[in-house]
Amino acid sequence: MTDLWDRLDEAIGQLSDITDIRAAAIVRRDGLVIAHNLPDGVDPKLVAAMTAAIVGTSEMATLQLAQGPFARAVIEAQDGKMISMGAGEEALLVALVYKDANLGLVLMGMDRVARRVDEILRPGVRSTTGTETW
């Protein structure tokens, strides 16, 4: 199992190589933390829950407004940006980005890491939270 965490840490590390990204986290869609390199003073549990809420609400909004599939949510604040996106069926990726960041570079890096996270988590690493329809 150590290998799984190593690969996830490596994926997060790839984002850290992009100097415009301050910190990042991989979280589950139900708001639990998987891996992160968030700075001290930032509560990873809170970030995970907020990311899941932001993506969930954004996905619902794009669906309801007939805007096609959700791609990412970009939240701009005075001191930086928060970018959240899906990373496969089970996970989400969130990055804290400096305010003057090169967004093109950041988004390319995030897309690449999101695909990598999907590959790492896909082969039966975890089952889904159980909700069924009859």
Binding site: D30, G31, R126, S127, T131
Partner: protein, 172 residues
């Protein structure tokens, strides 16, 4: 536990005897709020997050008040049994409606028709909506809080009985 938590828990405990609603009225209120909560969380786009957080926050607070004797256990299945027994003893729901068995690290729970949430599940089933088992969310969050163990669950069958499978997920 923080002292402010203890004080508010004690206050809540003292108030328990002063409820004026009938048992049937409280059941209707439960169904009203659960149904509304499910529809609201669906409209916000993330039922799993919403219900998991509701259970997490609720249990952290109310296990102190409503289940003072429940301390958890080394075994997840035993913790589920003890939690259900304690909920029964405190009059929250009929604990004998549930049977647990452990199967190679997987916990299986069968919950029969006496489940206090069943009417809401049946309503949603009749409306063609997905069933979200609030009992399973509760068990998973209890295990996370008391045992620091992460379990994912699947509602394998909504029926008589409802069948839940809980499997431990890897964590650091």
């Amino acid at each position: 536990m923080k002292s402010c938590d203890r004080e508010s828990a004690a206050r809540l405990g003292r108030r328990r005897g002063s409820v004026s609603a009938t048992k049937e009225g409280l059941q209707k209120l439960l169904e009203f709020f659960l149904y509304g909560m499910l529809r609201t969380s669906e409209s916000l786009g993330n039922v799993e997050l919403f219900l998991r957080r509701v259970e997490e926050e609720g249990l952290r607070k109310f296990m102190i008040v409503n289940m003072p004797k429940f301390m958890g256990s080394a075994s997840a299945a035993d913790a589920c049994k003890a939690y259900t027994r304690e909920a029964d003893a405190e009059g929250l729901f009929e604990g004998s409606d549930t049977s647990f068995r452990e199967d190679g690290g997987t916990i299986r729970a069968d919950i029969d028709a006496r489940c206090t949430y069943r009417r809401v599940c049946t309503l949603r089933h009749d409306e063609g909506l997905p069933i979200h088992c609030i009992r399973a969310y509760g068990l998973a969050e209890m295990l996370r809080i008391r045992l620091d163990a992460h379990y994912d669950w699947t509602l394998e069958a909504f029926g008589l009985p409802c069948r839940i499978r809980m499997t431990q997920t890897p964590r650091r």
